[in-house]
């Protein structure tokens, strides 16, 4: 299932599941991740799944690349590991002050705002992974007609709650952060809660997300 295993520096194993990004490969990554997580072997400091890679970091004072690689290779993978499969609805306000890049997107995609939003809201999105910043979900795949490149110059500060698009993916900025995705709106919903240590992320890999539109008034009153 893993196409190639190599070292990433001296304290991590780089498991390559292929170059494509699709649900099937991603499910394999998540399944491996879950199995390794349950196995709980000594010295592992992090498991970082992404679209089609899994990085296993370890403490070099406890174990090493060869030993960790062997464990990964010999791991008995239980199929159909229960992964999160929640359906989550996210409200977004797409009015001017929140939709920072909609005008730019109109030009990039050569489509009016209404059509862009209608296409975007009509689909459900699969969560491939979470990360970069705490709790940020990487969702896909958005309609072919909405594929756009990153901003040429990334923003130094993308506001918390922003919904961004790039290529076949969309995401939610869980914190104010630098970033280069095309921002089409903002959610008042808190997507990451560090006080809930067992389950801080609202959205987890395997979940399905759909978005619905709210107006400014609703947005402002959302958390009251």
């Amino acid at each position: 299932m893993i196409k190639n295993i190599s070292n990433l520096g001296d304290a991590a194993v780089y498991c390559d599941f292929g170059d494509e990004v699709n649900k099937e490969i991603n499910s394999k990554v998540i399944n491996y991740f879950q199995n390794l997580k349950d196995f709980k072997f000594e010295g592992i400091t992090n498991l970082t799944p992404s679209y089609n890679k899994l990085i296993v970091s370890f403490d070099l004072s406890i174990t090493n690349f060869e030993k960790t690689k062997k464990i990964i290779e010999n791991l008995e993978i239980k199929k159909n590991h229960s992964i999160s499969k929640k359906k989550i609805q996210i409200p977004i306000c797409c009015e001017k002050e929140y939709a920072l890049d909609l005008k730019k997107l109109e030009r990039k995609l050569n489509k009016p705002t209404d059509e862009i939003l209608e296409t975007f809201f009509s689909k459900e999105y699969f969560c491939y992974m979470t990360g970069f910043i705490a709790g940020m979900p990487f969702l896909g795949d958005i309609d072919k007609n909405l594929h756009a490149k990153r901003l040429e110059t990334p923003r130094v500060k993308v506001p918390k709650g922003s919904i961004g698009l790039t290529e076949q993916f969309c995401n939610i900025y869980t914190f104010e952060s630098p970033g280069g995705w095309n921002i089409i709106g903002n959610t008042p919903l808190n997507v990451f809660n560090s006080l809930n240590e067992d389950n801080p992320n609202l959205i987890n890999p395997g979940d399905t997300v759909s978005f619905f539109k709210i107006n400014k008034e609703k947005y402002k009153n959302y958390n009251e």
Partner: protein, 314 residues
């Protein structure tokens, strides 16, 4: 309410509580964090006879100025730090790696780090601070950890309890500098032109001001990507050197993003993290290639050296 506490007169530039960080949370986007210079952290806690994961106050460049109220308490400063102690208006020049006993109303002014970035103030008592995911380490970007995930502020209090028995221990130690950063070639090394591959190991790179606990940005001979300036976003580990479209290296440090989409040209070996973190803006470095086996051996030597330093505590 604790009766023993520090009051922060001046917080310093980037003063945080740190320990060894929190592991196994990368998959939800939370990096390990923890101290930038692990050796100096280990040494400080050893001299004070604290447990290995005891919280420490980490500061960058200019440290905090604190006044202490309470029962006599041992503290220790590690790194290369200029500091002063004020006892009843008497000014005492501080010495790193030597236990100092603070008494009621004494002050400590951690003026600056010398030709290095991070310094540490270790305390011979429990700190009354919060833990998140079993670590007090503050990650200011995600507001995670003790102190509500924020760096220390002027006028705040740091309460301590369970003060340890006083003792007098010290160590003669000088931190050495590093010029050659040893790396293992990365998964996208072949994304770069032959000339850039050679330049990466031949040319000097300088540390820029855009360097913090998340990452270190370098400047130097531009590295030309001939395949793709983006990869499909994937996991990152501490030490990874990413090359964005502008061709200048960025090295991932303790608070790095857990996922990134820039090609990985190389990864710094674990044994060089401490000294890498201490490089000030303007420092010139060169990358030197080592293989995995060498890196593992160098790491064993690094651990032996740490133990050797510790064994010299008097």
């Amino acid at each position: 309410m604790s009766e023993n506490f520090f009051k922060v007169i001046r917080a310093g530039i980037n003063t945080t509580f740190q320990d060894l960080g929190r592991s196994n949370l990368n998959h939800i986007g939370i990096p390990i964090s923890g101290v930038m210079d692990k050796r100096n952290y280990i040494i400080a806690n050893k001299i004070l006879q604290n447990v290995p994961s005891h919280p420490i106050i980490e500061f960058a460049y200019q440290g905090p100025k604190l006044v202490y109220y309470g029962e006599p308490l041992n503290i220790l400063v590690s790194g290369d730090v200029k500091f002063k102690i004020f006892k009843n208006k008497n000014e005492i020049e501080g010495k790193c790696y030597e236990i100092i006993t603070l008494e009621d109303h004494d002050e400590i002014d951690l003026i600056s780090t010398n030709k290095s970035v991070y310094g540490y103030l270790a305390i011979g008592a429990d700190l009354n601070i919060d833990y998140q995911w079993k670590s007090c380490s503050i990650n200011t970007k995600a507001n995670i950890g003790s102190n509500n995930g924020k760096k220390l502020q002027d006028n705040q209090k740091i309460e301590v309890s369970k003060i340890k028995e006083l003792s007098r221990r010290k160590l003669d130690h000088i931190n050495s500098k590093i010029e050659n950063i040893r790396v293992i070639k990365g998964t996208n090394f072949h994304y770069f032109s032959k000339e850039s591959q050679a330049n990466f190991f031949k040319k000097e790179y300088s540390v820029t001001k855009l360097t913090d606990r998340m990452g270190m940005r370098l400047e130097g001979q531009r590295l030309d990507n001939i395949v793709n300036t983006n990869i499909k976003s994937e996991g990152l580990v501490k030490g990874v050197i990413q090359i964005p479209a502008d061709g200048n290296p960025i090295i991932m440090l303790a608070d790095h993003g857990t996922i990134g989409g820039y090609p990985k040209i190389a990864t710094v070996i674990s044994a060089d993290f401490d000294k890498l973190s201490q490089l000030t803006p303007g420092s010139k470095i060169k990358f030197k290639e080592v293989n995995l086996k060498d890196a593992e051996t160098i790491f064993k030597l690094y651990e032996m050296e740490t133990n050797n330093i510790i064994s010299k505590i008097l």
